[in-house]
């Protein structure tokens, strides 16, 4: 399970606080701080020239067949992220103002990932050391709840395979094991996407904002706080939600919100157990009465009870 998940007791407290409408700032802080040591990416829309070198490098590094669908088989040109595409560059153009921006879309490696919370079989895991979210097919049911849950619409499914896999960016974890960085970051000619620890990259981003007043939309770093924070960070000159990939999300992670509701109902599984214990004691009595009445009727009418 995700390393951010609090113990049942802690979660119960969060649930109770959520009920009372209190934001538990403390729990959130405790969650975000250690994450800053984890690996991260920073993508800057003002630097990207849309060359898509990162898209090709990604397929090559991950052994994916390039998706040439939209170009009629001529060159790599995926329409969306799909089972052959873990990374894509999209273009946003405002028809009226001519304002344009590229945006890179891939897994955000959320600090409290909804996909990991969703997966029944823990086939999706968040690495406790570097925070990378990876998929392991050994136990995956192919239920696709991860696809429903991910707010960024990231995990993709092999729809036409016999033993379909979930496909998504894994931060080139196989390359990191060899001491290399993610392929997209290493190939980018403009350093529009770079990698490092989350702490370092937040510093870099803040410095860029400070050095270039007015350049970035609302001087915001997308991913710093969205949905509890993500390990992929964005600096954009356009309002993030216009770009398609960077959906508007609250500060609190969605799994945490859901968990607080579930915990108010379940109280760490205590309520079903107590309810069952209380119920059976009542039911045992009811059942005895029922048996007696059935016996009584049988004696009177000769009709055996139909349970």
């Amino acid at each position: 399970m995700g390393l951010n998940r609090r113990a049942a007791l802690g979660a119960m407290a969060t649930g109770a606080a959520a009920m009372a409408g209190v934001q538990t700032a403390k729990a959130n802080d405790a969650k975000i701080l250690p994450q800053n040591k984890m690996v991260a990416m920073l993508y800057d829309t003002t630097l990207c020239i849309g060359c898509k070198a990162c898209v090709s490098a990604c397929s090559e590094a991950n052994g994916l067949t390039p998706d040439t669908g939209e170009s009629g088989g001529i060159y790599q040109m995926p329409k969306y992220l799909n089972d052959k595409t873990k990374n894509i560059i999209k273009l946003y153009v405002d028809e009226k103002t001519g304002l344009r921006s590229y945006v890179k879309a891939q897994c955000m490696h959320c600090i409290d990932p909804a996909c990991v919370a969703a997966c029944p079989m823990a086939a999706l895991q968040k690495n406790p050391v570097n925070g990378v979210v990876t998929w392991d097919g050994t136990t995956c049911l192919g239920c696709r709840y991860c696809q429903i849950a991910c707010p960024f619409n990231i995990p993709k499914f092999e729809w036409t395979e016999f033993n379909p896999k979930i496909v998504k960016c894994q931060f080139c974890d196989h390359r990191m094991a060899e001491g290399k960085g993610p392929a997209c970051c290493e190939v980018c000619p403009r350093e529009a996407v770079i990698y490092g620890t989350r702490e370092e990259l937040l510093k870099v981003a803040r410095k860029r904002i400070a050095d270039n007043p007015g350049k970035y939309f609302e001087d915001r770093i997308y991913g710093e706080e969205e949905a509890g924070g993500t390990q992929v960070l964005y600096l954009t000159h356009v309002e993030p939600q216009l770009l398609g990939h960077l959906v508007p999300l609250g500060k609190r992670s969605i799994p945490e919100e859901v968990e607080s509701v579930q915990n108010t109902l379940y109280m760490g599984f205590l309520s079903p157990i107590i309810a069952y214990a209380a119920l059976t004691s009542v039911l045992k009595k009811r059942w005895q009465e029922h048996e007696q009445e059935a016996k009584h009727i049988e004696e009177q009418t000769g009709l055996k009870e139909q349970l």
Binding site: T138, N153, E158, K284
Partner: protein, 405 residues
């Protein structure tokens, strides 16, 4: 004159009618297509895609239809929790509806998951993500099916072997089985209450994790409560509706006193549900969205009308005394309730980009075929076992006696 249901009695008449064969053909086609789907992948037979990754099988056959399969839960709560033993005569029908609907839903899940062979891992708790709502749903449903529903349905099945024409050893075994069921019964009905309460609410919680991807008219922390109560309402509507159709089809008298009571309880539950639903819309300040008249608000209003009208009508005795009127209201309520359970999963699900989903024909056949399978199960069981309720006179007539001894 009102008939008074007291005993369960099997339906006379042939099983293999033309209806039976039509259903069997549909179910057969579904099974063949399911086998093909295993080899060719889900994309080959369904309209599912990376945006709408859940379609008919999961969202309709399981999330939506097991609400109707909550008949056993709904009647069970009345009989055992509220101690209304007069409804006990409906228990067999209700438990049968439940076991068939859940079995059919579970087959649906089996075909829907991409790597069904990995289901074996569910047996190994070390692989569980115990925070996953879907895991909870899967385990609670299986548990309910195997522990609760099997126990509730077993007596009607084994009872048959107590009849004269079976060998002594069979009788002996049936007797032992019945004794065993009676010993564990209170524990089983306890589970048959707790487990559906859990998974019917969690079917709603499932969509909560989709957060802003479900339209705010449906996305609410109240989803689990609303889903559970709707399961209760639809379970009630299902038992009344199915008993009405069955009695009509096989020429048996209706006990309008019992059915009318159930209709009333359904209406009361519907009122509570509506209060929660509307209160939630107000509470979250979503009222402006209701009158936006985009497709979401239209679906919302449609749902409201389909649930409100029968809810209000069934409160009045006039509408409950007349079987035809009550039936029509229940059908309307069922359509509205099913719509409520389905909409958040698909129609109000907003995956972004330009994803589009509409079930393909093979997908519709598979989905319909699993439902046909459940109906076949129903026809077979009520014609072979004592399930459906009748007045005592019918019972004695079937035993070859004209009156009670």
């Amino acid at each position: 004159m009102n008939a008074h249901w007291e005993r369960a009695l099997r339906v006379d008449g042939p099983l293999f009618t033309k209806w039976f064969w039509a259903l069997a053909a549909l179910a057969g086609a579904a099974i063949l297509l399911s086998i093909y789907r295993t080899y060719a992948g889900l994309g080959a037979v369904t309209g599912l895609n990376d945006g709408y990754s859940w379609g008919l099988f999961k969202n309709f056959n399981v999330t939506t239809l097991t609400a109707l399969g909550s008949a056993g839960y709904a009647v069970g709560v009345l009989v055992w929790i509220f101690n209304r033993q007069k409804y006990h005569v409906l228990m067999r029908t209700a438990a049968l509806i439940s076991i068939l609907s859940y079995t059919s839903g579970m087959i649906g899940i089996g075909v829907d998951v991409g790597r069904p062979w990995n289901i074996v891992w569910v047996l190994d708790p070390s692989t569980w993500n115990r925070y996953s709502i879907l895991l909870e749903v899967l385990i609670c449903m299986t548990g309910y099916l195997l522990l609760g529903l099997q126990t509730e349905n077993l007596p009607a099945f084994v009872e048959r072997f107590l009849e004269g024409r079976y060998p002594e050893t069979w009788k002996h075994k049936a007797d032992t089985a019945l004794k065993f069921v009676r010993r564990i019964y209170p524990f089983a009905i306890g589970l048959a209450f707790i487990l559906p309460s859990m998974h019917q609410s969690s079917l709603g919680s499932l969509m909560m994790l989709a957060g802003p991807r479900v339209h705010p008219l449906w996305q609410t922390p109240m989803l689990p409560v609303l889903y559970l109560l709707m399961a209760y309402i639809l379970g009630m509507a299902a038992i009344v509706g199915i008993l009405m159709i069955s009695c009509l089809a096989w020429n048996r008298p209706l006990d309008m006193k019992i059915l009318g009571r159930l209709g009333y309880i359904t209406a009361l539950a519907t009122m509570v549900w509506l209060a929660l639903r509307v209160g939630d819309i107000f509470g979250r300040g979503m009222l402006p969205l209701v009158f936006k008249f985009d497709s979401y608000s239209v679906f919302f209003l449609l749902e409201m009308v389909l649930i409100n009208v029968p809810g209000v009508m069934l409160l009045r005795t006039k509408w409950r005394d007349d079987p035809a009127k009550m039936y029509r209201m229940l059908v309307m309520l069922t359509v509205g309730g099913l719509l409520y359970r389905y909409v958040p999963t698909t129609i109000a699900f907003i995956p972004g980009d330009q994803y589009f989903y509409f079930p393909t024909i093979p997908e519709l056949i598979i989905s319909g075929g699993f439902i046909a399978l459940a109906i076949i199960g129903y026809l077979y069981t009520v014609k072979r076992y004592n399930i459906l309720p009748v007045p005592l006179t019918y019972w004695y007539a079937a035993q070859g006696k004209s009156t009670a001894p």
